[in-house]
């Protein structure tokens, strides 16, 4: 293939896909999770525009995604698996033992961490997974490196007989920077899974053998860290030098563009020789990193006298300004630009947190649930937003699928004296709700599971899942039937209702909550964000309106009180999707649908 160079502005996620494509990745699996969700669709785009063979799927969860990718690698297909940081907790079981077995074809595990918790329940630092499992870690700092390191990760994985962990953070995954690349692809056809029990059957006897080789394999992987395209020294001036990786590298260059920096593309195994050499030439060396002191601990363990950032910078996202302030507090001379007093954010402004969308299929369910005075064990998805005012309809959010297990625990501990409902979305139910439900049924639980089926993995951008009846590539697939599966699993009280059928929802909830034993209600209504507006917008007749504010308590962002309306609400027709919930809520019938019938999608 003749070399063809191109230049594009790509997000870190798109660049990861491009690097995987260049490496001849034939197999990719993921469960969507911000900030990693765009990687698989981008890989499909690469295939569509640049050619090559590729199979990619949304797997039902991260553990399954990793395991199918391991299977593909075993068959000789170069593979990628992607997940958000907490997804690696779910996939941790195969991940650790995978380091023992190693791989046939190259396998890169992409983790997208979320410092600052823009869209996550915690800000765990997944670099520790690499050192804990003895898996090499590559950490890109922009889209060019995201592309190059993904390609290298697949090659390194194959050469070192280890999976490679590629760690992105939100600012790398979702920033767009320029990538120059060659539109050429390596090819490696799958050769079939070899029968090699000593390598792939991790019985204790075989596992002991592989454990012994793991030390040598990770040491060999460490040699890659000496390469100039992975560990790079930026020559500079000044008494202080910096060791940095990932977005920390960009921030330190921003703050001190003239300072010497040793940039580590592979924080684990630490290229100790390069670090020693660098530190020996400087009076003072500071390690710049985001979140935990992962690099600092390793450099200190190598016996080098270096300093870390002030500990308060370990919480939340690192920014150039926070870094500059932290360095200044350590006595490092930062330029005048960073000393300049910056205006404070204006005080007293009303916050604008995320909310359930106008027309959200879930909104009525939470108002109905509130009437039952039950404890609501929640889960992870858009509907978690119902925990906020005015709905205040959810009382826990811990982990994928945890609501069902928590509800069961509460019901058992309270021996029936507290009614509990577990609320879970359709995609989350298929991800981790199934075993939790089986456990509750098996152990004679007395609680209700409410499945909010909006036919979409909505929070992460509307991806498909087993309930939507479509695969990632748009192929039809038998839609997962929540009610039928619950019945087959042994739930006796199973009810189904459509979102617009308020009486049906009320009755289903009343019967399920009253039932002695596990019960399940499925409420189905399509996500308006994915499937479009439902109908023509509604409008408030100010002549009829009595300003009781019942409609405002729905927390619909399309309804508000304009300054000039005597306290009477009005509906923003550009936002209204025509769900009609407010009209049904209005006690005096002041809200009606605009003429013009059904709206276009």
């Amino acid at each position: 293939m003749s070399a063809e160079y191109r230049k594009m502005i790509l997000s870190g996620n798109e660049a990861v896909a491009l690097g995987a494509w260049q490496a001849g990745c034939r197999f990719a699996a993921a469960y969507p999770g911000t900030p990693s969700s765009e990687i698989l669709p981008a890989l499909q785009q690469c295939r569509a525009r640049l050619g090559g063979d590729l199979y990619a799927e949304w797997s039902v969860n991260e553990k399954v995604a990793l395991e199918v990718a391991v299977g593909a690698s075993l068959a000789g297909a170069r593979s990628l698996v992607a997940m958000k940081h907490v997804g690696l907790n779910v996939a941790a079981d195969p991940f650790f033992t995978l380091a023992y077995t190693g791989v046939e074809a190259g396998l890169v595990v992409v983790t997208a961490d979320d410092p600052g918790m823009h869209s996550s329940q915690n800000e765990q630092d997944n670099r520790y997974y690499a050192s804990h499992a003895h898996v090499p870690l590559l950490e890109p700092s922009d889209s060019q490196e995201a592309c190059d390191f993904t390609r290298l990760a697949i090659e390194m994985s194959e050469a070192c007989d280890l999976p490679v962990l590629l760690r992105l953070t939100t600012r790398v995954a979702h920033s767009r920077t320029v990538v120059e690349f060659e539109a050429a692809q390596s090819t490696r056809a799958p050769t079939g899974a070899p029968v090699n029990p000593a390598k792939y059957v991790m019985l204790p006897g075989y596992a002991k053998g592989r454990r012994a080789t793991l030390e040598a394999r990770i040491e060999a992987a460490g040699e890659w860290g000496l390469r100039e395209d992975i560990t790079r020294e930026v020559a500079g001036e000044g008494p202080v030098g910096f060791i940095a990786s990932g977005m920390g590298y960009q921030h330190v260059r921003e703050v001190l563009p003239e300072a010497p920096v040793l940039k580590l593309g592979m924080p684990y195994p630490l290229p100790a020789e390069r670090v020693r050499e660098f530190a020996a030439r400087l009076n003072r060396v500071i390690v710049v990193e985001e979140l935990e002191p992962f690099l600092l601990e390793r450099v200190l363990a190598a016996g080098l006298a270096v300093e870390g950032l002030p500990s308060e910078l370990r919480v939340g996202e690192l920014t150039p300004m926070r870094l500059a302030a932290g360095l200044a507090a350590m006595g490092v001379e930062v330029g005048e630009r960073w000393h300049r007093s910056v205006a404070e954010p204006m005080g007293g402004l009303p916050p604008r947190p995320p909310v359930l969308c106008p027309g959200c299929a879930h909104r009525y369910v939470f108002t109905a649930l509130a009437r039952h005075k039950v404890f609501v064990a929640g889960d992870i998805g858009c509907y978690t937003l119902a925990a906020l005012p005015p709905l205040c309809g959810m009382h826990t959010c811990l982990a994928m699928g945890a609501g069902i297990s928590q509800a069961h625990g509460i019901a058992k501990a309270m021996e029936g004296k507290q009614s509990v409902v577990a609320v879970i979305g359709d995609s989350t139910f298929t991800h981790a709700g199934l075993p939790a439900l089986l456990n509750a049924i098996y152990n004679h639980s007395n609680m209700t599971v409410l499945v909010l089926d909006n036919r979409s993995t909505a929070m992460t951008g509307g991806q498909d899942h087993p309930g939507t009846g479509l695969t990632l590539s748009g192929e039809a697939s038998a839609p997962f039937d929540f009610a039928a599966v619950a019945r087959a699993m042994g739930v006796e009280s199973v009810h189904e209702a459509a979102v617009g059928d308020h009486a049906g929802i009320d009755e289903a909830l009343a019967r399920a909550i009253a039932f002695e034993g596990p019960s399940l209600v499925v409420v189905t209504g399509p996500c308006p964000l994915r499937y479009g507006a439902l109908a023509a917008p509604y409008t408030v007749d100010p002549e009829e309106c009595i300003a009781c504010n019942e409609c405002l308590r729905l927390g619909c962002p399309a309804i508000s009180v304009p300054g000039d309306s005597d306290g009477k609400p009005a509906i923003d027709e550009a936002l209204c999707t025509g769900c009609g919930l407010c009209a049904k809520t209005c006690p005096v019938g002041a809200i009606s649908q605009r003429e013009g019938g059904e709206a276009g999608g």
Partner: protein
């Protein structure tokens, strides 16, 4: 020339697309460019910002605009304009749509919407009736394009670069109306916002 452009608005208003347009125009104009934003939960009707950093001279490292260093603030809603006004450099200018969208906290009787949002914003730039223009063209979701038309008058990027950016970032069926709205934004800035150009 180096510019740090902060685009602010509400999730769903097209903040991310607006940032993409500026980034593509900068790249087409031969500039270095980096852009940062967050997706996911924050996009559900919440406050959203996109950082776009462009330069035809020095290198850009961090994709995030340092505090108080934005040369331009483009806001698709007035409260969001006020929220991010502090990010402007002393010489920075704001281009703000005159739309007011009260957040849920206001709707529920919490802190009230600022009584005179236009005052502090107009002091730092100009307030345009972009929603009115976009709605009149039957494209209320393309307010971002009107504001970018106004921004384009202030930046040093060739018009051809903006044309290419529109083609690359806007779906073909919406391209014509977006081109018209971009031009309307240019006219609006030239006619009514002299203080943008004098700096």
């Amino acid at each position: 020339m180096a510019d740090d452009i902060l685009i602010a608005g509400i999730g769903g208003q097209g903040v991310v697309t607006a940032g993409d347009l500026v980034a593509h125009a900068a790249l087409a104009g031969g500039y270095q460019v980096k852009k940062a934003e967050v997706h996911g939960m924050s996009q559900r009707g919440g406050s959203v910002v996109s950082h776009v950093r462009i330069s035809d001279s020095g290198a850009i490292y961090s994709p995030m605009i340092p505090d108080g260093a934005a040369t331009w603030l483009v806001a698709l809603e007035m409260l969001e304009g006020l929220r991010w006004l502090w990010m402007l450099a002393p010489t920075g200018r704001a281009i703000v749509d005159d739309r007011r969208v009260p957040p849920t906290s206001v709707i529920l009787g919490g802190p009230s919407y600022p009584a005179d949002p236009a005052g502090p914003l107009a002091e730092r730039g100009c307030i345009l009736c972009a929603t009115e223009i976009a709605t009149a063209e039957g494209a209320p979701r393309a307010v971002n394009t009107v504001l970018l038309g106004a921004l384009s008058v202030c930046l040093n990027l060739p018009l051809e670069a903006w044309r290419r950016a529109l083609e690359e970032c806007i779906r073909p069926k919406h391209l014509d109306v977006n081109r018209r709205l971009f031009e309307a934004g240019q006219d609006l800035a030239r006619r009514t916002a002299a203080n943008l150009l004098t700096g």
